[in-house]
C-alpha cells in the first residue's frame, strides 16, 4: 500500500515536471500564435506608396487613421500632402551661433513621434568639438553633459539626415522603399521597408535610424497631426529618418528644430524662391557641406556668421 503510493507520487512528480518542461518549450509557440492573431492582412498586402492610385492613397490614409484610433484611442490625422510645384527645400545651419543646447533634438523627438523606449531614437545628434581641432568626428564628444552651454573652448556641430541629392541610401535600397521626393526630401515608406538595413550601411551621416523594438511613446505626448511619409506612428523593425518635418514643411511651416532654436542658428526654405532666407545665405555666405568629397550633394548647408 505504502509502496504503491510512493510510486504514484514519483510518477505524478515526473508527469508534472514533464508537463512543465513541455509547456516551457511551447512558450514561444504561444508568442507565435499571438503574432498570427495580430497579423493584419491589409498591412501585409499594402502596395508601395508610390504605386498607389490617388484613390488607393486615400483609402490607405483612412485605414491608418482608424488603425491608430483603435491602437492609441486618439484621433489621428494622416496626411498624404504631395510636394508643391516649384519647391526645392534646403537647410542652413549657422555654426557660429549654435550653442549646443540640444533643444532641437528634443523638439524633434516630440514632433516626429520618435521612440522613447526601449530604444531611444534621435534624428539630430549634436557633437562637441575642441576649438582648434576642426571638424574631426573621431575626436568629437557625442554624449557631453554640460551644466551650462556653450562651454568655453568648445564648439558644436549638429548633424541629421543631410537630404542628399545623390543619396547613397536611396541607391542601396533593394525594394525602393525609400526615395527622393520632388521637393528634395528623402522619405521612407515604413510599410514597404524589409529592414535589411543596407541604407544604414550606405549613409555617411548616420541619418538613418532603426526601430529595434516596438517604439514606445507616452500617450499624452503623441503628436496626432501626421503625414504618411513623416511622423505617423512606426512599427518595430523598420528604418526611419528626418524628413524636414514633412507634415509641417509641406504646409509652409518650419521644421520643429528650426522653430525651437533659441539662437536662430537654423534656417530653412525654398531654394527656388530668390527671396527666401536660404537663398540669401547660399548667395552671400561661405557655405560648406559635410563630407563633400563623397559627392552626395547634401541639401544641408553649414555656414559661419555671427
Amino acid at each position: 500500500m505504502k509502496e504503491e503510493k510512493k510510486v504514484s507520487l514519483t510518477k505524478r512528480k515526473f508527469l508534472k515536471t514533464f508537463m512543465a518542461g513541455a509547456a516551457a518549450a511551447l512558450l514561444p509557440l504561444a508568442k507565435a500564435e499571438s503574432a498570427v492573431r495580430d497579423f493584419d492582412m491589409e498591412d501585409f498586402l499594402q502596395k508601395n506608396f508610390r504605386e498607389m492610385t490617388p484613390d488607393e492613397v486615400k483609402k490607405t490614409l483612412k485605414r491608418l487613421e482608424e488603425k491608430y484610433k483603435k491602437k492609441y484611442g486618439k484621433d489621428f490625422v494622416v496626411k498624404g500632402t504631395p510636394a508643391r510645384e516649384n519647391v526645392s527645400f534646403a537647410y542652413g545651419l549657422n555654426l557660429s551661433k549654435c550653442i549646443g543646447c540640444r533643444r532641437c533634438v528634443y523638439a524633434c523627438v516630440k514632433e516626429n513621434n520618435l521612440s522613447r523606449a526601449p530604444h531611444q531614437i534621435h534624428y539630430i545628434r549634436v557633437m562637441r568639438f575642441k576649438k582648434g581641432q576642426g571638424i574631426d568626428f573621431e575626436n568629437s564628444e557625442h554624449y557631453y553633459e554640460a551644466a551650462k552651454v556653450p562651454e568655453p573652448g568648445y564648439f558644436y556641430v549638429p548633424v541629421q539626415c543631410q537630404q542628399c541629392e545623390k543619396a547613397p541610401c536611396v541607391k542601396a535600397c533593394p525594394v525602393k522603399a525609400t526615395w527622393t521626393e520632388k521637393d528634395g526630401i528623402v522619405v521612407v515608406d515604413y510599410n514597404w521597408c524589409i529592414a535589411c538595413r543596407y541604407c544604414m550601411a550606405a549613409c555617411p551621416y548616420m541619418g538613418r535610424k532603426f526601430n529595434w523594438a516596438e517604439p514606445q511613446i507616452p500617450l499624452e505626448e503623441l503628436n496626432t497631426n501626421t503625414h504618411y511619409l513623416g511622423n505617423r506612428p512606426r512599427m518595430k523593425n523598420v528604418v526611419e529618418k528626418c524628413t524636414f518635418c514633412i507634415q509641417r514643411s509641406r504646409e509652409g511651416k518650419y521644421p520643429a528644430c528650426v522653430e525651437i532654436c533659441p539662437v536662430g542658428a537654423r534656417k530653412f526654405g525654398n531654394l527656388l524662391d530668390p527671396e527666401s532666407e536660404i537663398r540669401q545665405i547660399i548667395e552671400t555666405k561661405r557655405v560648406f557641406r559635410l563630407k563633400e568629397d563623397l559627392n552626395t550633394h547634401p541639401r544641408f548647408f553649414y555656414f559661419f556668421h555671427s
Binding site: H142, C173, P174, I194, C196, Y198
Partner: protein, 402 residues
C-alpha cells in the same frame, strides 16, 4: 513513375542508418529546435534582442552570410578540374562538392532571412509581385546571383544523380552548359557580395578596390578546407572511395589561394598604414584597438596566426604527404578565414561609425543561438543529400533494385 521512385527511394534512404547517423541527425535537430525558439523570440521582440545598434547595424548574421558565400563559391574549384581537365580522381567527388554549394547557399539565404527585420515582407523583393530595385541596388544583384547559383547547383547534381539512379547515360548536351555556366557564376556570387560592401564611400574600411579579389582568394581557401574535412568523414563513414590524390590536388590549389590572400591583406595593411589618413581608424581598431577599444584585436591576430601557419603547412604538404598535417591546416584555415571574412570584416566597417562614435559589438546569446541553428540546418541538409548521393553512387540505391 521513375521520378516518383527516385524521390521515394531517396526518402527511404534518409531513414536508413546506424546509431551514429541517427544521433548525428538528432543532435542537429535539437540545435535547430533551440535556434527556432530563439528566432521566434527575436521575431516577437524585434531585433533589439541582438546586440546590433544604429552604430553597428550588421553583425554576426551578415558576417556568417559573407563567409558562407565564399564556401559556396569554392565548389567551382572542384568543378573546373573535374569537367574541364578530366582529372579523374576529382570527378568522383564533384557531385558531393556541388551538393555542398547547394547547402551553403541555403545557409546564406538562411542568414539573410534571420537578419531581415521584416521577413513577413519578403515578397516585396520578388520581381513582379513586389519591386526589385534592379540594377541600381547592389543587393538586388546579390538576390539574383545567389538564387541563380542555387538553381544551377540544384539542376546539375540532381540531374546527374537521377540519371545514375535510373542507370542512363546523362545527356552531356543538357548538363554541360550548366556546368560551364556554374564556373563564372561561382566567381560572380562572391564578387557581387564583395560589391555589396565595396561601393559604399561611407565605410572606408570596405571602400577598397582590392575587396573582390580578397574575397575570392580567401574563399578558395576556406571552402576547400571544409570540403576536404567533410570528404574524409564521408570516406570513413560513408564507405565511399575518395583517393588521397584528389585531396592533395585540392590542397595544392589552396596553398596558392592562401598565398594570394595573405599578399592582398598585406597590400591593404601597407596602403592604410603608410598613407595614415583618417580612414586608417577602422583598420587600427581591428589590428591594435582604437581609443582603448580593442574587442576585435585578439580575434584578428588569431586569424593571422592561423592563416600564416596554415600556409606554411600547405607548403610542407608538397613534400610530406600527411593527412594529419592536411587536416590541421584545414581546421586552421577554416577558423582563420571565418574570423577574417566574418567578424573581422563586417564589424570594423562600422567602427568607428560615420560620425566617429565607437560602439563595441559582440553578438548576443540570441544571435549565437540562431546562427548555430542556421549552421545546423546547413549540415542537416548536406548530411541527408550526401547520404542519398552516396547510396546512388555506390550502386546501393538504383531503380532496378527497388
Amino acid at each position: 513513375m521513375k521520378f516518383i521512385s527516385f524521390i521515394g527511394g531517396a526518402i527511404k534512404e534518409i531513414f536508413k542508418g546506424g546509431k551514429l547517423y541517427y544521433s548525428w541527425v538528432a543532435f542537429l535537430l535539437i540545435i535547430i529546435a533551440f535556434a527556432a525558439r530563439s528566432y521566434i523570440h527575436q521575431l516577437d521582440q524585434g531585433l533589439i534582442v541582438t546586440n546590433m545598434k544604429d552604430q553597428v547595424s550588421w553583425g554576426l548574421y551578415i558576417a556568417n552570410f559573407t563567409f558562407m558565400v565564399g564556401v559556396a563559391a569554392a565548389a567551382v574549384l572542384l568543378v573546373i578540374p573535374a569537367y574541364i581537365y578530366h582529372f579523374h580522381a576529382i570527378h568522383e567527388i564533384v557531385i558531393l562538392g556541388e551538393l555542398m554549394a547547394f547547402s551553403a547557399i541555403v545557409m546564406c539565404l538562411g542568414f539573410i532571412t534571420v537578419d531581415l527585420g521584416r521577413p513577413d515582407r519578403f515578397w516585396h523583393i520578388i520581381p513582379g509581385l513586389g519591386i526589385l530595385n534592379f540594377p541600381i541596388s547592389m543587393l538586388s544583384w546579390d538576390v539574383i546571383v545567389l538564387n541563380g547559383y542555387l538553381i544551377i547547383n540544384t539542376i546539375i547534381p540532381f540531374y546527374l544523380l537521377y540519371k545514375k539512379y535510373v542507370e542512363q547515360e546523362p545527356n552531356k548536351k543538357f548538363y554541360l552548359p550548366f556546368v560551364l555556366l556554374s564556373i563564372p557564376w561561382a566567381v560572380s556570387i562572391h564578387t557581387v557580395t564583395a560589391f555589396l560592401y565595396n561601393p559604399l564611400p561611407a565605410r572606408p574600411f570596405w571602400n577598397a578596390a582590392i575587396l573582390a579579389p580578397r574575397f575570392l582568394a580567401s574563399a578558395f581557401c576556406s571552402g576547400p578546407a571544409l570540403i576536404l574535412i567533410i570528404f574524409q568523414l564521408i570516406r570513413k563513414f560513408g564507405n565511399f572511395k575518395i583517393q588521397d590524390a584528389a585531396l592533395f590536388k585540392v590542397a595544392e590549389i589552396m596553398a596558392y589561394a592562401m598565398f594570394f590572400n595573405l599578399f592582398l591583406f598585406g597590400a591593404e595593411l601597407f596602403k592604410e598604414y603608410y598613407s595614415g589618413t583618417i580612414h586608417l581608424a577602422p583598420m587600427e581598431y581591428l589590428m591594435q584597438g582604437l581609443h582603448g577599444h580593442n574587442a576585435l584585436v585578439p580575434w584578428i591576430w588569431t586569424a593571422i596566426v592561423f592563416n600564416v601557419s596554415a600556409f606554411v603547412i600547405f607548403l610542407l604538404l608538397r613534400n610530406i604527404r600527411s593527412i594529419v598535417l592536411l587536416n590541421i591546416g584545414c581546421v586552421l584555415i577554416f577558423c582563420g578565414v571565418w574570423i577574417e571574412k566574418g567578424m573581422g570584416f563586417i564589424i570594423p566597417g562600422f567602427i568607428p561609425d560615420t560620425l566617429g562614435e565607437i560602439y563595441e559589438y559582440m553578438p548576443s546569446s540570441t544571435e549565437v543561438m540562431v546562427s548555430l541553428g542556421v549552421w545546423a540546418l546547413g549540415f542537416l541538409i548536406y548530411t541527408l543529400l550526401a547520404k542519398v548521393a552516396i547510396a546512388i553512387d555506390t550502386g546501393r540505391l538504383r531503380y532496378n533494385k527497388q
